[in-house]
Symmetry: none
Subunit: 126 residues, 4 copies
DNA sequence: GTGGTCTAGACCACG
DNA sequence: GTGGTCTAGACCACC
């Protein structure tokens, strides 16, 4: 688990960590039930403060993506959340992405291709 | 052009304004060449500071989505065709959305449906 | 808004702050829509770190008890949450309190009296 | 005596054990004078460390709820009648519960009902 | 002015 | 060992 962080990005570091862990899980690099690195270890490896990593973990926990086990640290949760709520959130995000695409002259067909392409790329990492 | 702002959202207000204008353009409610409301008017209507609206407009200008003219205020630009750069940015955003979808148990087929569905919804507003 | 904190208590300071604010609202000392002191001010007054106060506020926000407005800081939310969920949580807490009472020889009648008594005490502060 | 522990809960495991034993006694599943399972047995059954169970037992002993005998292990104490002290502690706990209730729109009458309801539920287990 | 983020340490509770 | 809490300062984004 190596993180590549951009310290001069507008995206807060804890959010970058959260995003990369989420990507890692989605790409199958991290599997449900698997242990995540400890807060301390990840902080040391990545050159950030413990509390920053902690904040990312707390966020992921709150989102139901990981569970923090008192005995053995953080583990990846299995998927089980209610879709309806998730779809509402995703729709808003997707709409924004679609808007950006449109304004850059990318049409529906191209977006579908891009979606397919990204899925393949991500499945490949399994 | 009525904005619905959530002052307790994590998303900064200027970003909410930018997003809604972008959505408005993508949905065809605002067409290329059309004039946007003046900063002052939008600020008054929405109950926010003029500086905040200004920041949103500057951001949109910088993204090449609107043009700001001293005489006639802000107008919607025509579609920009610098796709390559845009696709890189969109890919990163889409990847994150796909990850979230996966972790909520939403598969590729459902995402394609959602994409189609949102396109129809947005075209409808034209 | 003066907090009385016990720095040697087992209860974390941020939780003591959260509890006292919750009590303050329930007793009517703080009314819905009213502004809470800023994080900085409360931190200074109470002799604790900003981040500790921040943690309390974040917790209250997450519990839907306060809202954090980007313009004017934190304000007390109006009550509107779904009761069913709340009752589940309250039941577990009350059950524990009842158990403790029983084991100390306090019977049902006494508990009802205590409940009434506390309600009067808290209403009095309105 | 089967414990249901949530390892990802915020409540420490030893406290969960203590709470469940207390509930068990209050509900009459465990009667004064009755023997509690040995530390080792409970630890094995529940998949936790012996030290953790020990901590829970020590806490219960300190609270005067159980007595620990070298020869026969832990036994449930008879009801302690030092009410005055107990009431102070209970009042603080109840006040917090009442606050939470109020903020969720649950009024005094509903709380009284809930109290009655929980008493019946707990008596039923006798 | 406000809150949001981050750091580099520290101590404690838990298991 | 783990995570949880806290501090005293700092810088930045937002309004």
């Amino acid at each position: 688990m190596i993180l590549s962080l951009d310290f001069s990005s507008e995206t807060p570091i804890y959010m970058q960590i959260r995003n990369q862990i989420m990507l890692g899980i989605a790409e199958g690099k991290l599997k449900p039930g698997e242990k995540l690195p400890s807060i301390r270890m990840l902080a040391d490896e990545s050159g950030v403060n413990m509390m920053t990593v902690n904040k990312a973990y707390q966020l992921l926990k709150q989102e139901g993506i990981i569970a923090i086990d008192r005995r053995s640290g953080a583990i990846v949760s299995s998927v089980n959340n209610n879709k309806t709520e998730a779809i509402t959130k995703l729709s808003a995000e997707l709409k924004l992405v679609i808007s950006e695409a449109k304004l850059k002259g990318i049409d529906k067909a191209e977006m579908r291709d891009l979606l397919d392409c990204l899925y393949e790329e991500m499945e490949g990492g399994k």
